[in-house]
Symmetry: C2
């Protein structure tokens, strides 16, 4: 097990009615919030009105910025930062899924920075001071509600970059599974794939000795595999929504990765797809993951796939190792298909036109030192097998 510093200080208020805790959490930091949200879905489910009532009752002033994109853009961040600077905001209050919370994080970081916020996305070390964030989650997927990172897109430069700072972890997050009842089937599926990908990125690492962490990864993967299809079929199944929601937070808040190490593999490749084609992140991950697995499976990695096959997919352990490993990948592919996620790039109208450019861009800061080294050619190969 690697050395680590564990510090996960986000307060989580989980369950039915958890929104009632919102005013008290805000009042710890101030009396004026910037409410950040995407489209109209939070109005449809009554959450927007509920939050405004709570803010009013508690004399908390509120400025709004809406229209955050599914892959949140730097232009929206710039718009938010202008609001914060002109209106003396105390707290950023994103209500939505990971895109909205990510956008809020970038606004929070930009609040105390004099230059263009994009500088901070490119170089997180420039982040010195941030505004507190309190989030209300409406989609189980990215885990942004409990982690310290975010991803912002720049359509001009065709970049989708991750950034982070320990202080960007939300101070508190409200997780009421009922707010995810109306998430459409395709987003439920993509969200499940996103959660699973976060876990798989940690699970497939070269670390020895992080036995506890690997067993916890398997626990969360099994939760997604059990409840993903139930939430997909029956959007108002509370237990399914609750388990997926809590899994989304625990998958990426540091619990699994503390004590392990190694770069992520599939996420940076997918970020190229999203940056070039503005596709749903979870869909890109679901398409790439099984093909990445096939690419990295060899004599040096087979034991991990065997572990994965037996412990996560319940494959008969008396089978031949190679059979177990290959079946574990096939099970992964079939699972995403069962959620009706597109299973190849052609299905989402992506051809090989930009493979070279995307792969080149993906390794612009060096070869990906993930579970297996990935250079430009490896990435092109993974793109091709995903066609």
């Amino acid at each position: 097990m690697k050395n680590f510093h564990y510090s996960i200080k986000t307060d989580i208020h989980f369950g039915k009615g958890a929104i009632e805790n919102l005013p008290n959490e805000i009042k710890k930091y101030g009396k004026k919030v910037l409410l950040v949200y995407g489209g109209g879905s939070i109005r449809k489910i009554g959450l927007y009105d509920k939050v405004l009532d709570l803010l009013n009752e508690n004399n908390i002033k509120c400025i709004e910025i809406s229209g955050v994109e599914p892959n949140p853009r730097i232009d929206t961040v710039r718009r938010g930062v202008r609001f914060v600077k002109s209106d003396k905001i105390d707290v950023i209050l994103p209500i939505g899924g990971g895109s909205t919370i990510d956008c809020a994080k970038a606004i929070s970081a930009g609040s105390f920075y004099d230059g263009d916020p994009w500088d901070l996305i490119v170089d997180s070390s420039k982040i010195k001071k941030v505004l507190p964030i309190i989030s209300v989650l409406t989609l189980a997927a990215t885990g942004s509600e409990m982690d310290a990172g975010a991803v912002i897109s720049n359509l001009e430069t065709r970049e989708k970059l991750g950034f982070g700072h320990p202080d960007l972890r939300p101070k508190a997050s409200i997780l009421d599974p009922e707010y995810t009842y109306t998430v459409p089937k395709n987003q439920t599926a993509a969200g499940t794939a996103d959660i699973m990908s976060h876990i798989l990125e940690v699970y497939f690492s070269k670390n020895e000795g992080a036995y506890l962490q690997d067993r916890m990864c398997e626990a969360l993967l099994k939760t997604c595999i059990h409840y993903g299809p139930i939430a997909y079929r029956d959007g108002e199944n509370y237990e399914a929504r609750a388990n997926l929601m809590w899994a989304s937070s625990l998958a990426i808040n540091g619990l699994l990765s503390n004590g392990k190490s190694g770069a992520w593999s599939v996420h940076p490749i997918e970020h190229e797809l999203s940056a070039y084609y503005d596709i749903t992140h979870g869909v890109g991950l679901a398409i790439l993951t099984p093909n990445w697995m096939e690419y990295v499976l060899d004599n040096t990695t087979i034991e991990k796939f065997v572990q994965y096959g037996i412990n996560v997919w319940d494959i008969d352990k008396s089978l031949d190792k190679e059979k177990i490993a290959k079946e574990s990948i096939e099970k992964t592919r079939e699972f995403f298909k069962s959620l009706e996620i597109p299973s190849c790039l052609k299905e989402i109208n992506i051809n090989d036109k930009h493979f070279e450019d995307m792969a080149e861009h993906c390794v612009r800061k060096g070869i990906i030192d993930g579970y297996k080294l990935l250079d430009k050619d490896s990435i092109i190969q993974i793109f091709k097998s995903s066609l």
Copy 2:
């Protein structure tokens, strides 16, 4: 899944050399510590000298109290509180296992209380203000390094009582697995049993829907089952010590129990044994647990035991349910035996003399509303089957 508030703010510095973080953690709260420890083991491993050097180099003043008992006593707490009140202490610094950290928690709570500290153990609601605690862990067992509770014994009244307050969660804990290399075999075994018991108390609850939490319980149980025997045989196996140490913290910090509910069953019964006979807590738990399991196994609980048998003990799932359930209990019993923990009360010189009194005292505040209701007679029966 039940509603919950998750708030686990202890900073953990984990791994080789983690002690170097101690001065900075202390300096967040002040410049004068009360060092609390038990016997001479922290001197033997060089930890005492190392800590004193670090404190000196950082101009942190230090008052000491040593001799904390394995079942820490209220007299020692009273002694510590007198030091704190006379010497204007800023931070309580326990170095040791759970007993030492528990004692430090009681001292911390007593620091701002005018009456006898025992009042606070009997009624935690009287705790209003506490001193910050920063712990250095040398034994993987109780999880006190990351939780908000503690247990203190009163030999006069023959009571061993748990108490707690959210602010008693250590602000930071230093977890270097190397500090547990010299833990004797019997304590390594008892510590493993203690960790497993914390998990089992949460796992066996009536809650439906906490699927994620149950899978995480299994993950941590498997970690104990895998590494307990390795640490027992080979005390200086880093990975075994590391996995057990981190499991001890995660088992009881709230991660598993948030979203579940229900009282603990075996711990209150064991506390009677420790209070009457001053035995090692983990030994009492290991003796009682399989017998408690046999007592609660029936048609209404069998499914959970089947889950436990298959997922934790890898019992063939094609077997008859009753066989799986019974085998899961037998495996539990055999596991503790394999660590050479006494397997019945007679082995530790306890007879039936006080069974009536202990059972009576155990339910003095009402029947235990645990996985299955336990009244005085049930407890006597469990004691008898543990003879």
